[in-house]
């Protein structure tokens, strides 16, 4: 049971990053390979604010989200938009380039030394009917669920959210009703960067902040997105939580896997899903018109 709760907490982080991937995939049609590095950069911003400038955690958290939103928007406008038309491979390659560039920048700016980002939730644990639960896990889960609900409200009930969805599913049609599609795509990148930053800030306290921190998380997020269906926001969340719990249980109860083999298990999940059900749990299979 303990493992389930802590699995849900790490699953929440995967879900947040997977959701970021899904948002960009739905609108731009590509997987953003630099999503993890963008998150790492944003987490370093949070670290700089709390450690160097001695901000308290939550103001730094909010400021970092603001920064990451702008960072995502600017990245789309400056780097992605010029290559967006035409071959999808070009965008993919550019995101891989971004991955390397951002990683290089982070190492240059903050060095490769691991740093410690404080957890806002402390390290307390408490006991619910014999199950030992850490406050950190509950907090992590609560923050991700909160962010997901906020996003859902945005997409479902606001004009801009509706325009975001319209631009993603049918850009030409969206322009005809007056939606400025390129700005909607930039907005999508901004929201994705915010999700990534949340994932980064929630991950850093437990694994330690270093320039490679998000790389395994990105693989888990890929697995979560593929499991849930790469076009389904709900799928990303369910996929993330499922994967978190599954990996935790496997890591503890299946002796030979342990902590080291979790990553290959995630890759195995990607492989199995792609072979058996390419559209994932919640994705709709692609229908080709003849």
């Amino acid at each position: 049971m303990q493992q389930v709760v802590s699995g849900l907490a790490s699953g929440g982080v995967y879900a947040a990053l997977a959701l970021a991937l899904v948002i960009i995939h739905r609108s731009t049609g590509v997987i953003n390979f630099s999503q993890g590095e963008m998150a790492t950069l944003c987490t370093y911003i949070a670290w700089t604010l709390t450690v160097n400038h001695e901000w308290s955690y939550w103001p730094a958290f909010v400021a970092t989200l603001g920064f990451s939103f702008l960072f995502g928007v600017v990245t789309h406008r400056v780097v992605i938009r010029p290559v967006e038309r035409g071959n999808i491979l070009r965008v993919v390659i550019v995101t891989i380039g971004l991955l390397i560039a951002i990683n290089g920048f982070v190492v240059w700016q903050w060095s490769g030394e691991p740093q410690a980002l404080a957890s806002p939730f402390g390290t307390d644990t408490f006991d619910i009917g014999g199950v030992i639960v850490s406050v950190g896990d509950i907090g992590t889960l609560a923050v991700t669920i909160g962010i997901v609900i906020l996003l859902w409200l945005l997409f479902q009930f606001t004009k801009v959210g509706l325009a975001l969805r319209a631009a993603a599913v049918n850009p030409n049609e969206a322009r005809l009703v007056g939606v400025r599609v390129t700005w909607m795509l930039a907005l999508g990148w901004g929201l994705a960067a915010v999700l990534g930053a949340v994932a980064g800030m929630l991950t850093a306290p437990s694994v330690g902040l270093d320039p490679q921190m998000m790389q395994p998380i990105l693989i888990y997020a890929f697995a979560a997105a593929v499991l849930g269906g790469v076009d389904s926001p709900l799928g990303a969340v369910v996929g993330g939580l499922t994967l978190g719990v599954m990996l935790n249980l496997i890591g503890v109860y299946v002796d030979f896997v342990g902590a080291e083999l979790k990553l290959p298990v995630a890759l195995l999940v990607i492989l199995v899903v792609l072979v058996l059900r390419p559209s994932g749990l919640f994705g709709r299979p692609e229908v080709k018109r003849v």
């Binding site: 509706l162 319209a166 049609e173 969206a174 322009r175 007056g178 939606v179």
Partner: protein, 235 residues
């Protein structure tokens, strides 16, 4: 009647291919005007030039003001374009499609207008939660029309609304368009292959041939002239 839309020697290109040559036409406020012609005559391109979804040159004025820029600008200026082959967001619900139609509006009457759509489309409100993709072809075409109305357009552009629909549904569609024109003074420019129904529903018409205006006149005149019907309209 005051002129609402004026095209002056408009040309349009798809890459190196010229699709429109010197097309000039006018639509007056409160009028229903049809654009007829064979496949490839430039009917759809004419509408696309007006809504800015194709590269064009020449003058296009709405209310005496030049329209420039892409479809976003045209939508803002009050042009609602229902494109060929149903203009709906199939993954979104009926209500969401209607809300998107009102995207350029800043007033607070959007909800009221959505409810008002049931005057013309009685089924629409109670099925507001249904995904547009699950509607029948005819219902999707009606939804595309309703969505265009939601923007409270100065000018409605309809591109081949009859395409792929049963004759009965086509008649119903044009009946609603006429009713909107009579009751609410809606100005419509409609492109059609089905010349018969388009002439019956419009007051004037232009006939295009390989990207030029070959012929123009009142719909009654064109309908009555047998040689015109034979050589241009094919019925």
């Amino acid at each position: 009647m005051t002129t609402l839309l004026k095209l002056n020697e408009v040309e349009a290109h798809y890459g190196p291919v010229q699709a429109l040559r010197d097309v000039s036409l006018t639509v007056s406020e409160g009028e229903v005007v049809a654009v007829l012609g064979a496949n490839g005559a430039g009917k759809t391109t004419t509408l696309r030039a007006i809504s800015g979804t194709v590269t064009r040159s020449g003058g296009i004025e709405l209310d005496g003001k030049e329209i420039r820029g892409g479809p976003e600008a045209a939508a803002k200026a009050g042009i609602a374009h229902v494109p060929e082959g149903r203009g709906t967001f199939v993954e979104l619900t009926v209500t969401e499609n209607l809300r998107l139609g009102a995207y350029t509006r800043r007033d607070r009457n959007v909800k009221k207008d959505i409810e008002r759509m049931s005057e013309y489309f009685p089924w629409m409100v109670e099925r507001g939660g249904q995904r547009a993709g699950t509607l029948s072809g005819g219902e999707q075409q009606m939804l595309a029309l309703a969505r265009a109305l939601m923007s409270r357009p100065r000018l409605l552009l309809l591109d081949e609304p009859s395409l792929g629909l049963a004759p009965m549904i086509v008649r119903e569609f044009f009946r609603i368009v006429r009713e909107l024109n009579e009751k609410e003074g809606l100005t419509v420019l409609v492109v059609e292959q089905d010349a018969r129904i388009a002439l019956r529903s419009s007051s004037r018409a232009y006939v295009l041939e390989v990207g030029r205006v070959a012929l123009t006149g009142t719909s009654a005149q064109l309908q009555g002239d047998e040689s015109v019907r034979r050589s241009y309209l094919g019925y």
